[in-house]
């Protein structure tokens, strides 16, 4: 069984512009949604209190809201979470109110109203901690980007590094765009997923870049476009199988992982789908346009060990 049977190289580079326009438009849309709707930051980043409560019966939200309203806490939201017997109550940060006591107050009230109310989870994040988590997240993103650019520049060439990071950061923006468009909650696990995607889809670029370098060596007379087309075509099968495999695990998380892993898996899914596309079809044209040439990659003093030219059949 073999899924991918390419008789000849697919002329990807002929459509390079099309691919870049598509991703350009998606990118602009993502930025647009980010700018207009903004991210729905979770309690981790915005600070505040989240309380998960289960009841012995489906939640009666009117009653629950009525009970909380009596506390006069100001703005809050209460919605069902996962199952119909579970409610999630979000309380924003309030100046001057000791938030640590807040969850107790709410729970006492809810219990008085309906004894079957059970506290499942409380998360309280103070304003300073929320800000720090946000800053640390941004720093981590920066560090990962810099690390990857550095590594690829060292291992390949600066054009690959720049192209790969552009392609992959563009994935990140698109994931964020989805989160903004649908107002999905952006929490710490989602951030982890995004960084994992960044590391992961760079793999894709690495595999293609590896092949481009190898082809430059082997296909002495071929044009740059051809070398790239061949590299993409011959790694296509691996790309799809690998991503399919990863997606199998992620889908399993999406189906069985419950609410906590839901957005994490969702971010990964979007990342994987766009990762295939951009790390190959955006990265390669960028490299081409930046004018990569055989001489850039095939240097006489370059260690040939990894390519193992002695075993070329």
């Amino acid at each position: 069984m073999e899924f991918f049977r390419f008789k000849r190289d697919i002329p990807f580079m002929r459509y390079a512009l099309v691919f870049n326009v598509i991703s350009g438009v998606t990118f602009v849309l993502a930025v647009f949604f980010l700018a207009t709707r903004g991210l729905n930051l979770g309690v981790d980043f915005r600070g505040g209190t989240v309380i998960e409560v289960t009841y012995a019966h489906p939640v009666d939200f009117n009653r629950l809201r009525g009970a909380i309203d009596k506390l006069a806490l100001g703005e809050y939201s209460a919605q069902s979470f996962g199952a119909s017997d579970t409610a999630l109550i979000r309380l924003p940060l309030k100046e001057g109110v000791s938030s640590a006591k807040l969850s107790e107050q709410v729970m006492t009230t809810l219990k008085a109203d309906d004894p079957s109310a059970t506290q499942q989870r409380v998360e309280f994040v103070g304003p300073q901690v929320g800000r720090e988590l946000f800053e640390n997240g941004a720093l981590a993103l920066l560090l990962v980007s810099a690390g990857i650019v550095g590594y690829l520049a060292m291992r390949f060439e600066w054009r690959f590094a720049v192209a790969a990071i552009i392609a992959n950061l563009h994935d990140i923006v698109i994931i964020l765009g989805f989160f903004a468009l649908f107002q999905w909650e952006f929490s710490l696990p989602v951030l982890a997923a995004i960084l994992a995607v960044l590391g992961y889809s760079v793999n894709e670029s690495v595999v293609v870049a590896d092949r481009i370098r190898e082809n430059f060596r082997k296909m002495r007379k071929a044009s740059v476009t051809h070398v790239i087309d061949n590299a993409i075509t011959s790694t296509m099968s691996r790309t799809i199988i690998t991503h399919g495999s990863t997606q199998l695990m992620v889908t399993s998380m999406l189906l069985f992982g419950g609410e906590t892993l839901h957005y994490f898996a969702l971010a990964l899914t979007i990342g994987i789908l766009f990762g295939i596309y951009s790390s190959v079809l955006v990265m390669a044209p960028l490299v081409m346009w930046m004018g990569v040439s055989r001489e850039d990659l095939v240097k006489p003093e370059k260690k040939a060990g990894l390519e193992g030219e002695k075993i070329v059949p």
């Binding site: 981590a140 994992a196 190898e214 071929a222 061949n230 199998l248 399993s252 994490f264 075993i311």
Partner: protein
């Protein structure tokens, strides 16, 4: 060519064996247990305690499944949760206040496994349920307190040295001393410099021609005070947490001014917050030494206006109810030595008001005993009851006599425990109920299992025997990952389980790369042996590159992530490293074992190899190979 030397197989074998042994404890269910430990340095945890525990349980006819002694205390496994609670009550009653008896869950794994350090994975709070607090220490308050203390100290020093000054006061965190005369100022400066090396002094004259000397804490002293404050707060928190009877509490410093408190299994957050936030109070009272009063009190008739307490050693002390001084007058208490006798002593520093009161009281009561009483949780305990030898002025008190260095340490700590070194505030809280924790484990486990099954089926179907090898390599990866997590006792969180699933999904990439390469080589007409060789060797460079980039992301997450995300990062990084071993080294070993021995290998079971056209050169028409 496709053969491994024996040592490589041995390496694989040993790795598998170690992996298996350390994974084993995770397969045993958890049983209810009771853990006996202590918070007091003077109480020993030894075989005598073990015997005592066993005797107490036998006397109360509580059935148990074995008791064991380890570094943290005595652990008793019990058949069910009802007996667990009964055992706890029995033991608490039998052992008394010096011990903490806590409910716990222990793996039912056999003793020899725990003996070699093979423990189940350490579950995070989101999986086992419990409370996580992040407390922020108010460092400004700690520095304020220090400035207060120095104000008192400088004032008493200058009086002692008979220096003429017109006033001592605090301005911000500086102590300002005003003088009328420059010579006096120079003399004071020399004295202060000698007595308090932590202060940086400078002269600054006010506009009205007033001569001023400004003392500020040196930066390194500030840092020392802040470190001390956080250390002290941690010690106090630890003492308080011990009261909650939590089996494995974690109390750690995080960053310069924060403390993490994690209490697995605690559900009553209100009580936990209450206890963490409580302040014990310290009182100094006079001992009632009237003849016969103590005997009368011991007989059951406590004289009016007195309380009968016990000293830390166990001796009864009758103490007057009138409080001479309260703990908030104490700025600091440090263990040290008596300068004359070289005995262990505690040096106590009182604030201005405290010093004045203390001076009066000691003048009137030379030769009598005073008691230092710690009131915590509504119960009072006499820390020490020293005899007043002379009038003590200046607010610097030394308590000495018949104390070991360790006791001096304890007393100093308890005296400081009157109040936290600096106030703390909860800046982050995460509480997870036990049922939610259980649910999280189940969901995480289901994600990994189903994903793994489908993935294996797919890979086996697509690559046939080579797919089966890849799947086995992937299982080895899982085995090694779980065993390393167990070995390191790294905290496993729900995102950590997600990372296991994700890492498995990513780790298969290496085998896909290898298998695709082998197919490609075969397509180009390479012999099976050459194809295997080339497939592994060429894929290796790519695998390394792609894993390094993934690792970069993992490390960044580890550095900047907090809590659950850090758990994700740890598992992710470890999984990437084990995957390189299993996907390349172990799978190659299996391939070599299966195919390596055959001289004339016609075919590899790697699924159908499609060739565009058997007669044209391999690759693509215009590939120019």
């Amino acid at each position: 060519m496709n053969r491994y030397p024996l040592w490589k197989y041995l390496v694989i074998g040993v790795a598998l064996l170690i992996g298996f042994v350390y994974t084993l404890p995770n397969l045993f269910p958890e049983v209810p247990a009771v853990q006996v430990s202590t918070s007091k340095a003077t109480v020993k945890i030894d075989n005598a305690l073990l015997a005592q525990v066993e005797a107490a349980l036998a006397a109360a006819k509580v059935p148990y499944r074995g008791a064991a002694l380890d570094a943290t205390g005595v652990k008793v496994r019990l058949p069910d949760t009802d007996t667990q609670i009964k055992a706890r009550d029995t033991l608490q009653a039998a052992l008394g206040e010096n011990y903490i008896v806590a409910l716990n869950l222990l793996s039912a794994s056999p003793q020899w496994l725990s003996a070699i350090g093979a423990l189940p994975m350490y579950l995070g709070l989101d999986l086992r349920g419990g409370v996580h607090f992040l407390l922020q220490v108010d460092m400004k308050a700690a520095l304020d307190k220090a400035a207060d203390r120095y104000t008192t100290d400088i004032r008493s020093l200058l009086r002692e040295k008979k220096t003429q000054y017109s006033g001592v006061g605090r301005e911000g965190n500086n102590v300002v001393v005003r003088f009328r005369d420059d010579a006096e100022r120079n003399r004071a400066r020399a004295e202060i410099d000698k007595a308090f090396p932590d202060l940086a002094l400078r002269e600054a004259d006010a506009a009205g021609g007033e001569l001023r000397l400004i003392a500020a804490l040196k930066p390194e002293a500030q840092k020392r005070i802040q470190d001390g404050a956080i250390q002290q707060n941690i010690t106090i928190l630890r003492n308080r947490v011990n009261e909650l009877g939590v089996a494995e509490p974690i109390i750690q410093q995080q960053g310069a001014d924060r403390v993490v408190v994690q209490l697995p299994g605690v559900q009553d957050t209100a009580r936990a917050k209450d206890i963490l936030g409580r302040t014990a109070s310290l009182e100094i009272r006079m001992v009632n030494e009237e003849a016969g009063a103590l005997e009368q009190a011991l007989a059951g008739q406590v004289p009016f206006g007195s309380d009968l307490f016990t000293e830390r050693g166990g001796a009864p002390v009758l103490v007057r109810r009138q409080v001479v001084l309260t703990g908030d007058r104490i700025n600091d208490a440090q263990p040290g030595f008596d300068q004359r006798t070289n005995e262990a002593a505690v040096h106590v520093n009182l604030d201005g008001t405290g010093a004045r009161i203390f001076k009066e009281v000691t003048r009137e009561n030379v030769g009598k005993r005073m008691a230092i009483v710690l009131v915590e949780k509504g119960k009072a305990e006499v820390i020490t009851a020293p005899v007043i030898r002379e009038e003590i002025g200046g607010g610097r008190v030394q308590i000495s006599g018949r104390m070991t260095t360790r006791e001096a340490n304890d007393v100093a700590l308890l005296m400081r425990a009157g109040a936290l070194a600096a106030p703390m505030e909860i800046v982050e809280e995460r509480t997870v109920g036990p049922s939610l924790g259980k649910e999280n484990i189940d969901k995480g486990f289901a994600s990994v299992t189903y994903g793994f099954i489908v993935l294996s089926l797919f890979i086996c179907g697509y690559y046939m025997l080579m797919g089966l090898i890849s799947t086995i390599a992937l299982s080895v990866n899982l085995l090694l990952l779980v065993s390393i997590l167990s070995m390191l006792q790294a905290t496993l969180t729900l995102p950590g389980i997600a990372a296991i699933a994700l890492t498995l999904g990513m780790a298969i990439d290496a085998n896909v790369l290898i298998n695709e390469r082998i197919r490609e080589e075969l397509r180009w007409g390479a012999t099976p042996h050459a194809a295997i060789q080339a497939g592994y060797e060429r894929a290796w460079g790519t695998i390394l590159d792609s894993n390094v980039t993934t690792l970069i992301a993992g490390v960044a997450l580890f550095i900047f992530g907090s809590g659950p995300v850090r758990g994700f990062a740890v598992v992710h990084c470890l999984g990437i490293m084990t995957s390189m071993f299993s996907a390349v080294f172990v799978s190659r070993g299996m391939v070599n074992l299966i195919y390596g021995g055959r001289k004339k290998l016609e075919k590899i079971s790697i699924g159908q190899i499609w060739r565009p056209d058997a007669t044209t050169p391999p690759g693509t028409p215009a590939a120019g190979r």
